[in-house]
Amino acid sequence: MDLSYSRKHRELQSEVRAFVREKGHLSPKFGGGRKRPNRQELDWQGLLLERGYIARSVPRKYGGFGAEPDILETAIVADELSKAGVSPGLLNQGVLIVAPTMLELGTEAQRERWVAPTLRGETIWCIGNSEPEAGSDMANARTRAVVEGDTFVINGQKIWTSSAHYADMMLLLCRTEPDAPKHKGLSYLLVPMDADGIEVRPLVTMTERAEFNETFLSDVRVPTDQIVMGRGDGWKVAIASLKHERVMLGDPNKQLQRFHAIRKLMQGVTIDDRPAIEMPEFRDRLVRLQAEVMAAKFHHMRLLTLHDRGEDAGVAGLVQKLYGTVLNHKLSALAVDVLGEGGLAYDPHEISEDDPATTWQIDYMYDIGLIIGGGTSQIQKNIISERGLGMPREPKVQLSEKRA
């Protein structure tokens, strides 16, 4: 264990603190996502990129800061930003899933073309993975892409495509090799959302908002070089991108930020003229969650160290999505409870800055969506028990047996 701050780290810490003092007032209220970033969010993103507070180790030619990977630096930045309650930048699928996947598996031309505008928040991505008949069983995707000359012609339907209604591009999972076995017939294509034949229908969720969409593709044409890796390599890309998605959904910085926000909320909200934080029952719940949040934060640092050392994380590397999304829900549940009756105020169409109730209620419900999405908790438990603990797969049941 060596968590010591070298001079470099102490300097970074005071640099971030000075940045927050000087520029903190420019921060947008939320981390972004769920809508196209506005001017303020884009400017803030630009500031963070320029300072290397996001994409710190992404090479400069792809729009990053070009620093040597250093997990303590990343941790210091996240810590200081969350303590100050300012936005850590855009937390959308482009920044968190598409850019790292592209850096890992894309061609040089694709990285140069897509990574920088994605990081800047100018190019917004959606991801077309799930289909009505391919949810947890994602490799069952039926959307087809057939080569005609130098284009793919795509037909099919996607569901749960968050941000499709304002995205510029879609990372699309589809079947290009119908004769190959299930997992070997898939490819990922890069599809512009303004292409002819794409129809996006909003899917209203329990929050009353259309956070997701159904996306229909009819004879959509994209050039054959708009593919990540080769034809039939889709499952490899899926595994890489799902890994980034699990990390995104289990992101401990989000939990840390929420924890600080709830502590402040509990100091501000009064019950019988006393701050909620003075009520032992609420306080006890808060401290319980603090320990869980701390555990998530240090677990993340442990994983980064293992990654740096090239050591296998084993089961430790598989639990973040399950742990993080459930923890997020416990956090928002505490906030909703602290707000009590006043927490029932709900106007998700006009969220104002002095309306914590709506914001927390949206999180409280949306968190369930995140527990289900990105591989449900049950799928995560299968992954943990099978890949992490070495337990056998459930035997297959033939469909005909069910009917008999």
């Binding site: 264990m1 677990h299 995560q380 337990m391």
Partner: protein, 365 residues
């Protein structure tokens, strides 16, 4: 920056775990628990050969001079083995107390004996840790009278370190006149607790530290962290045993490990316990490097959280074993009870969370 074990720490862990897996078999645990009042001379000689009693003793007094971090790795390994071996009081708190609170003379008198495994010092810390039992102690004219229950590492103890409510510490020798260390039958047979009865007993007063209360509370922090680390190891073992048992037990012509109902119980245990390891590592690291407030906060959070996760794992693992888990035949209950002990001694999770709130000063909004 490295958030993980270094080569030396990995080596300590490996050699200890090797020793424990060879010597602390289920038969051995049963034997020590049944015949020896929870203390076994052969096991003690074994840990002595590994240098555990000297782990925290400074090198000048014949020890290894290692930190709380290394001690936490040892505690985890002992919990994993459900080892009936004194550790938290004898090998961690006692040498720390003498180093931090004793005069040079007292250090010279006690520390070499601790490192050599000759002085085995139990701990009565109830006055400072929120004990529910009796702690009624009076120091008059350098002599100690009264009672303290919940004495940790009583099995085979030669001395008891007694923490007083004002932070001062006194070491009494078990075979001195006026000192009685009575066995107190308690849940975890691998680490018997005792009741200390003192009447005008002679003692060695440790009060050389100007911040005697700070030092004493620091001892409680470290002890709590050790208990949390013990739970980490014990719970880890219960998960391993669950997976192993489920992979052998056949019902409905399948190993039960192939049922999602069982797999998901195991996955839930692993998902809640894995992040605990990092929490323990950080909390242990802070004991060696952090401020008093950080040390207290992290020790309290770690003990409270491991108590809760430990309880869930202990119950779930027992359920995965089905009826066999409930019997004495598999000995799974030794780990179940170990986790119960770790939860309840030196302040339960509610008490620890309350202390975490106080030290973080949240109420002064």
């Amino acid at each position: 920056m490295e958030f993980g074990l270094d080569e030396n720490q990995k080596l300590i862990e490996q050699s200890l775990r090797g020793f424990l897996s060879r010597t602390v078999t289920l038969d051995k645990i049963r034997q020590v628990v049944a015949d020896r009042g929870g203390f076994d001379g052969a096991l003690w000689d074994g840990v002595l050969a590994l240098g555990l009693p000297g782990l925290m003793v400074p090198e000048e007094f014949g020890g290894a001079g290692l930190g709380v971090f290394e001690a936490a790795l040892v505690a985890e390994a002992l919990g994993h083995a459900a080892a009936p071996i004194p550790f938290v009081a004898t090998n961690v708190v006692a040498p720390l107390a003498i180093s931090l609170m004793g005069t040079a003379e007292q250090q010279g008198a006690f520390l070499p004996a601790v490192a050599a495994g000759e002085a085995r010092v139990a701990l009565a810390a109830g006055a400072l840790s929120g004990a529910t039992g009796t702690t009624d102690l009076h120091l008059v004219g350098g002599r100690l009278s009264g009672r303290a229950s919940g004495v940790i590492d009583s099995g085979g103890a030669s001395h008891v370190l007694v923490l007083l409510a004002d932070g001062r510490a006194v070491i009494v020798a078990v075979d001195d006149e006026g000192v009685e260390l009575l066995p107190w039958p308690s849940l975890d047979r691998t680490r018997p607790l005792g009741t200390l009865v003192l009447s005008d007993a002679p003692g060695e007063l440790l009060d050389a530290n100007p911040d005697v209360m700070g030092a004493a509370l620091g001892l409680v922090d470290t002890a709590r962290l050790m208990l949390a680390a013990d739970t980490l190891g014990a719970a880890q073992r219960m998960i391993e045993k669950s997976v192993e048992y489920a992979s052998q037990r056949v019902q409905f012509e399948r190993v039960i490990a192939s049922f999602q109902a069982v797999k998901h119980m195991c996955a839930e245990m692993a998902a809640s316990l894995e992040p605990c390891r990092s929490l323990i590592w950080y909390a242990a690291h802070v004991q060696d490097t952090g401020s008093a407030d950080e040390r207290r906060t992290m020790a309290c959070l770690a003990k409270a959280h491991l108590s809760e996760v430990g309880r869930d794992v202990a119950r779930t693992a027992t359920e995965v074993h089905g009826g066999m888990g409930f019997t004495d035949l598999m000995g799974l209950h030794f780990w179940f009870k170990r986790i119960g002990y770790d939860r309840q001694v030196l302040g339960g999770p509610e008490r620890c969370r309350q202390e975490a709130v106080e030290v973080q000063d949240w109420l002064a909004a």
